[in-house]
């Protein structure tokens, strides 16, 4: 750095190059231009020299002093270096601006040199888990250890029920066995995949700060739902009050919306209940896990050494504080769900539907079919009556009183289609339910629902 600074300074003197030319033996050396100058300032440099003898600065060396002089009486072989140096410096000629050309040269050089040299391999970045999420096949002990899955809590705050997951104590914390974590994580991934394969509704919950990206990514991969804010207590057990009028869509086996045919059913349908809940922080979501257990919803939870493992159906013993660990587990489960969804869609394309129509919708479809039949029959009867009136006037147009679905004659539009009355439909539906209740093939869920209605 020092060399460069002095070189620049000396470069301002045009004599420097001339001196270098005069001393070709030295011109190859880095400091050649500056070297002759060292002869001049000896008097001053003495203060900087490493010689310890002699008083610095105070006295000048007469011999050196004389050497620096140009003697008019004897104009002979003076080394004349100093004379050249001492010439008044000329101003530097104005040079054209080469900034652009220099920059382009530098860029060209950089392009040329880019493939040269060591190739730096990318090993790890914190965002890798989001750019390329690992799946269940990528779960290794090394990955889990690198993502700090083995670090449990302080040994004094443990839950003894987790003893089977704990390998030992180090640095004052419990160490979770990596084999246990890997095995439980693979099992949980299998559960998620099968639930997705059978068309279940999965919910990823992570309500601690920093878990938003993890749960949204997992939900996006597995076409599931996510929750990264507070779980409103009662969302499952009191959903009629908490979630009224939440829009619900009915899709077919290829996940296409089936259109307005079920709008009537959706209007009075209760809110959906997830078929699987994945919770990243069970400790803060105890209420949700409790509601899930009441509603018979299976749960998957990350169980640290201070968490009660019986709160969840499928425990994954791991560190629930490290976002890196949660991101790995979340992406593994998300990838598992993605695989399940993919399998389901492939089977659906081949004509195999892996899920059953919910019983409520089955009932609704049956009712609609019955209603269509009855409408058709009523229309036929009416037509027959009209024909009879035309042919025999004694025929009555009143429908049979035994027909439960129509207490009165349905009013029709001009084109003959029946006008639908919501209150009548409810009453009819209830009546249908009563009939079905009497039969044996009623589903327990529906019966339960009806019990609630009572």
């Amino acid at each position: 750095m020092i060399i460069r600074e002095f070189g620049v300074r000396q470069g301002k003197l045009p004599a420097a190059q001339a001196i270098a030319d005069a001393n070709p033996r030295h011109s190859r050396k880095a400091l050649a231009a500056a070297a002759p100058l060292r002869r001049g300032p000896q008097q001053c440099l003495r203060a900087l020299s490493t010689e310890t003898s002699g008083t610095p600065v105070a006295t000048a060396d007469p011999a050196v002093e004389s050497a620096l002089q140009t003697n008019p009486e004897n104009p002979s072989p003076v080394p004349s270096l100093f004379a050249r140096v001492a010439k008044p410096t000329r101003r530097r000629p104005v040079e054209p601006d080469t900034t652009k050309a220099d920059w382009e040269t530098a860029q060209q050089l950089r392009r040329n040199l880019l493939p040269v040299g060591t190739k730096v391999e990318h090993r790890y970045g914190p965002a890798d888990v989001f750019r390329n999420p690992p799946g269940p096949k990528d779960v290794t002990l090394e990955l889990l250890m690198a993502s700090q899955a083995h670090m449990g809590h302080h040994a004094s705050v443990w839950n003894p029920a987790n003893a089977r997951y704990i390998y030992g104590i180090r640095e004052g914390i419990h160490i979770i066995s990596l084999e246990q974590t890997a095995a439980h994580l693979r099992r949980a991934a299998r559960v998620v995949e099968e639930v997705a394969y059978h068309g279940g509704l999965i919910l990823f919950v992570g309500t601690r700060p920093g878990q938003t990206q993890i749960v949204t990514q997992a939900a996006r991969l597995s076409k599931a739902c996510h929750l990264f804010t507070k779980w409103t207590p009662g969302t499952i057990t009191n959903s009629d009050k908490i979630l009224p009028g939440i829009p619900v869509e009915i899709v077919d086996e290829l996940d296409r919306p089936v259109g307005p045919a079920f709008n009537q059913h959706l209007m009075d349908r209760r809110a959906l209940v997830p078929d699987l809940v994945v919770c990243l922080n069970p400790l803060e979501n105890f209420t949700m896990l409790r509601e899930c257990s009441q509603a018979n919803v299976p749960t998957i939870g990350i169980i640290d050494t201070n968490t009660e493992p019986t709160w969840v159906t499928y425990a994954i013993p791991a560190n629930d504080d490290s976002l890196r660990c949660l991101a790995v587990i979340g992406s593994v489960l998300g990838r598992a769900g993605e695989a399940g969804q993919k399998r389901r869609m492939e089977d659906a394309k081949n004509g195999k539907v892996t899920w059953e129509t919910p019983s409520e919708i089955k009932q609704f479809i049956e009712i609609q079919q019955k209603r269509a039949r009855w409408t058709k029959r009523a229309a036929e009867e009416e037509e027959a009556a009209a024909n009879k009136a035309n042919g025999g006037p004694n025929q009555s147009s009143t429908p049979r009183s035994s027909d439960r679905s129509y207490g009165r004659t349905p009013s029709t539009n001009k084109d003959g289609t029946p006008i639908f009355h919501a209150d009548e439909a409810m009453a009819e539906l209830q009546a249908e339910v009563d009939v079905i209740n009497a039969e044996d093939d009623v589903s327990p869920q529906l019966r339960n629902m009806m019990r609630n209605l009572d």
Binding site: I2, I3, F6, R9, N23, R25, K29, L31, A34, L37, R38, G40, P41, Q42, Q43, C44, L45, R46, A47, L48, S49, T50, T52, D61, P62, A63, V64, E65, S66, L68, Q69, T70, N71, E73, P79, F82, V85, A86, P126, L141, M145, H150, M151, G152, H153, H154, Y167, R170, E171, G172, I173, I175, S177, L178, E179, N319, D321, S322, L323, R324
Partner: protein, 491 residues
């Protein structure tokens, strides 16, 4: 074929090689100074030496708080420093927090210390006057802990002047008595010493037997040179009677010097200084008449106690300071580059306390001789050379932003018995200071010299016939940059 190592599961093998498991357990904190109990003591002051491992992380991981521990460390406190350095005291606590703090203090200090190229030398005993030869702590005759034969081979090089060869060690089995408090001493006597009474008597028996054998052998060789001394069996410890031992013990009671030597050899005590104790060579009353004594110089660790670590403390592995630094313009330098130090505490007028000078994070000890550090005059224009008073050293100078600074030369370093690094400063060197200032851009002597020389001088002219250069008056490096060609003077 039985394996010596128990087979473990793959996860366990992985965990054993993990970084968390590789963290060394913290060492004991620096011993507290008893006299500080009544003084001001700062809880946040930098400890004399680090006790915990320093942990760092890549910048990308630091941005998300990932330091490889149980939970992300808070970004507010860990992302402000230039270098990511923390020490973790507890990976997890009952309060569910990771207990950590910045480790920049010790880590950066270590880095700055390594820039000084300092070597550690054995401390010079107090009783040595005059010029001192610095001996590296890694020399063969110094760097050993047990008096094993292999170590004693290296001791052959140690001259008798250096002191008792066994006391040149830096580690001893017993305590340093001069540094013990009364309570500690009583506890040591009752716990460790009292139980070894019979062992000591056996030790004395063997000693007496060896002495008797030596006496008899010398008597035989005086009488008859032809009789080999090993023809007669040596006196054994079992042959010493109780009366003889009692007599020997009585003799020892009057011979304090010999008694202390025996006790300290038996208990492997760390050496104490002769100057302070009752063993001072001047006190003739402690010596038996007509007896030959081996009197040694003080051990290097006698006056301040043996160090609690290896005397280099692992801070530097250099053996010597005797190398030259080269300057691109001025050539090889006689002195090392001066180090910019801060005047932590100026000399107080009332208490006359020595000023404290902070050199790269350590307090340097100013020389006790007459130097520019001892110049108490205010800026004395009549003073010449290095004895100029240092501005800001004798009184606090509030006009200096960031405090007063001074360029210093450091001679050597050693570690004292409390684990603190002691730097010994030399007197200032104005030339080295100027070169270093120019290197860091604080002054520009060179271009000023060039400018001055480029003005033709009219003051002085030599007769024309005598114009030639003085040989060997070139400054700095050789005129041909040491490349062997003809120098500039030949042009």
């Amino acid at each position: 074929m039985a394996s010596t190592q128990r087979a473990v599961s793959p996860g366990a093998a992985l965990l054993r090689s993990s970084r968390l498991f590789s963290m060394p357990s913290p060492i004991a904190p620096p011993p507290g100074d008893m006299s500080q109990a009544t003084k001001h003591k700062s809880e946040t002051a930098t400890a004399a030496f680090p006790t915990h491992l320093t942990v760092t992380t890549p910048s990308t991981s630091r941005m998300v708080g990932d330091w490889g521990f149980k939970r992300p460390l808070p970004l507010k406190t860990t992302t402000k420093s230039t270098f990511p350095l923390v020490r973790v005291k507890k990976v997890d606590s009952i309060e569910h927090v990771t207990d950590f703090q910045s480790a920049s203090d010790h880590t950066i200090t270590l880095e700055k210390f390594r820039e000084m190229n300092m070597s550690f030398s054995v401390p010079v005993p107090r009783d040595i006057q005059g010029s001192q030869t610095l001996i590296s702590v890694f020399e063969e005759g110094r760097d050993f802990t047990t008096p094993a034969p292999s170590n004693l081979n290296g001791l052959a090089k140690v001259s008798r002047n250096d002191g008792d060869p066994l006391n040149l060690r830096w580690k001893f089995g017993g305590p340093w008595l001069a540094g013990m408090t009364d309570g500690e001493f009583d506890r040591y006597i009752s716990k460790s010493v009292r139980a070894r009474r019979s062992e000591f008597r056996q030790f004395l028996r063997e000693r007496l037997a060896a002495e008797k054998t030596a006496d008899r052998n010398s008597a035989i060789s005086e009488q008859d040179l032809n009789t080999p001394t090993n023809a007669i069996p040596a006196v054994k410890a079992e042959d010493i009677t109780e009366e003889e031992l009692l007599e020997y013990t009585r003799g020892l009671r009057g011979d304090r010097h010999e008694l202390f030597n025996l006790v300290s050899r038996f208990l492997d005590l760390a050496p104490v200084s002769n100057a302070d104790s009752a063993l001072a060579p001047g006190m003739l009353g402690h010596y038996m008449p007509d007896k030959k004594y081996d009197l040694y110089r003080d051990s290097p660790y006698a006056s301040n106690g043996p160090p609690i670590t290896h005397p280099s403390a692992g801070l530097s592995y250099l053996r010597t300071q005797n190398f030259m630094e080269n300057h691109p313009l001025y050539g090889p330098q006689h002195k090392h580059a001066s180090i910019k130090a801060r005047i932590v505490t100026p000399r107080f007028g009332v208490t006359n306390q020595n000023p404290k000078i902070g050199v790269n994070g350590f307090i340097g000890n100013i020389p006790s001789t007459e130097t520019s550090f001892s110049n108490r005059r205010r800026n004395d224009v009549s003073a010449v050379g290095s004895r100029d008073a240092i501005p800001g050293l004798n009184e606090f100078d509030p006009s200096q932003p960031g405090g007063s600074k001074v360029y210093v030369q450091v001679q050597t370093a050693n570690v004292d018995s409390t684990g603190k690094v002691q730097l010994r400063l030399l007197d200032r060197d104005p030339e080295a200071d100027t070169v270093q200032k120019e290197t860091v851009g604080e002054c520009d002597t060179f271009s000023g010299a060039v400018k001055e020389a480029s003005q033709p001088s009219t003051k002085f002219q030599m007769p024309s016939g005598e114009r030639k250069f003085m040989p060997n008056r070139r400054f700095g490096s050789a005129p041909n940059y040491g490349l062997g060609g003809p120098g500039l003077r030949d042009i």
